[in-house]
Each structure stands twice: as C-alpha cells, then as structure tokens.
C-alpha cells in the first residue's frame, strides 16, 4: 500500500466523520466543528490524490488548499458570529430542541 493510498482512506474517513457530525450533532458548535472536519478531509483528499505519483505534490491543489484553509477560518468566524446572535435572540444554541411555537 502506498503512502498516498493511506492518506486517501484517512481523508475518506474524516469526511465521513464530518458528515456524521454535521447531521447528528445536537449543538451548533459541534456542527461547526464537523463542517471544519469535512473541509479538512476534502483538503487531505485533494493533496493526497495529487501526491500519488511520488515526489512533491502538484502545486495547483496545494494553492487551492491554502485558499481553502483561509476561507474555512473566515467561515468559522462568521458562523460563530451567527451562533452568538442566534443565542442572544432565542436563548438556544442547539438544533435538536422541540419548537414550542409550532
């Protein structure tokens, strides 16, 4: 088994963990962590696939991933602001509570 194959499988599993957390996580902060994991998994997949031929990986996916890391962190900051406002308006930071209003 090659190095790239190991990381491709790890990336698939991390993406799976991210999807699971995004769907099942009750707390919104947990969902945010899951989205970040999902992103990291995709980054790992891109670079691991680009490095399959051995040697330094393709620079194009690397540049994409650097852009992606910065976008992910700004997304996280925005989502945290959204979460804070939501919590101030509703007193809830979770998705799995019953809506009493309906």
């Amino acid at each position: 088994m090659s190095q790239a194959a190991i990381y491709v499988m790890a990336a698939a599993a991390v993406i799976g963990a991210g999807v699971y957390g995004l769907l099942v996580g009750g707390h919104l902060l947990r969902k945010l962590l899951a989205i970040n994991l999902l992103g990291s998994g995709v980054f790992l997949l891109l670079v691991a696939l680009a490095g399959r031929s051995g040697g330094a990986p393709d620079p194009v996916p690397q540049a994409l991933v650097i852009t992606g890391i910065v976008v992910a962190v700004s997304m996280t900051a925005f989502a945290l602001a959204l979460l804070d406002r939501l919590f101030r308006e509703t007193g809830q930071a979770r998705m799995d509570v019953a809506d009493d209003d309906d």
Binding site: F87, R88, E89, T90, G91
Partner: protein
C-alpha cells in the same frame, strides 16, 4: 556511522526517554498540578536534547541557531502556558462551578495519597487541589449545574459591575 551520528543517536535516545517520562507523568500523576509539573520539565528537556541532536546532524550554523531559537521559544511558551493553566486550575471559580466542592473524592486520586504525590505543595494546598479535582468529576464541565454568577461574586476578584446573564431576549 560517524562520531557525530553516534552522539546524535545518544541524544535522541535521551530525549525520547524524557518525552516518555513526561507522558508517564501526564497519565499517572494524581492531580493537575503534579501532571503539569512533570510535563513541562521533562518535555522541555526532551525538546532541548532533540534540538541538540538535530543541530549535530544538520551541520550548519544557521540551522543550529534556528533550533536554539525554537528551543528558547518552547521554554517560554511552556513556562507561560504551564503557569496560566495551573492558575486557572486554582481559580476559586472552579469550586463554585461544581457546586459540590469538598464532597466528591477525586476519581484520579483514589489509588494515591493526594498529599504524598504532591510533594511540592503544602498539605493544605494538596487538600484544596483534591477538593477542586473533585469538583470536576469525570465527564464534562458542561454537565455542571451551578450557575456561573455565584462563582464570580464569590471569587472576590470581579470588578464592581455585577455580571448579568446574556441571552435574555
């Protein structure tokens, strides 16, 4: 193998030993302060030895200077982090947090005499530490029932403005 490589190997083995010692301390010591004590000392010595070994192997003065900077910064960061985490663990807020200070026995301290293991602390401090560890039973801090507000006012360090709960519409 040249003499430099032999020396580097010996240094690496020594460094590995100290890292291992730090991990053992982290796992086996009974409370947060003795764990921190083991961790910061052993690990930074380990890092220093690894840096020295890599400087020998790298064979350039520039690389060696870089490694020295890394080690010194590591010392600084570990000192500050250790101090802050230790202080945070001592915060009286912790006892108020759990709302059960002094009632529970520390789960990790069961097989040790708390005061024995914390050799550098006085018996009083060790007691307080055990109580505090007990205030955070195994599990998550999220499960603690006591409100944050009482902890603040009792800590004495909070300024004049009384904290108001947020999130009320």
């Amino acid at each position: 193998m040249s003499i430099l490589q032999v020396a580097a190997t010996i240094l690496l083995v020594l460094g590995g030993f100290f890292y291992f010692a730090g991990t053992v301390g982290l796992l086996r010591f009974p409370d947060v302060h003795s764990r921190l004590h083991a961790l910061t000392k052993a690990d930074n010595l380990g890092l220093g030895l690894v840096c020295l070994a890599m400087a020998l192997l790298g064979g350039s003065w520039r690389g060696a200077a870089m490694l020295l900077v890394i080690w010194l910064l590591g010392l600084l960061a570990a000192t500050v982090s250790c101090h802050l985490v230790a202080q945070a663990a001592l915060e009286p807020a912790a006892a108020g947090d759990g709302g059960s200070g002094g009632e529970a026995i520390a789960p990790m301290g069961r097989s040790y005499g708390g005061a024995d293991a914390v050799t550098e602390a006085s018996a009083e401090e060790a007691d307080a530490t055990r109580r505090r560890t007990g205030a955070w039973p195994d599990g998550s801090i999220a499960e603690q029932p006591a409100p944050r507000r009482s902890a603040d006012t009792s800590s004495g360090a909070s300024p004049a403005d009384p904290p108001t709960p947020r999130g009320d519409p």
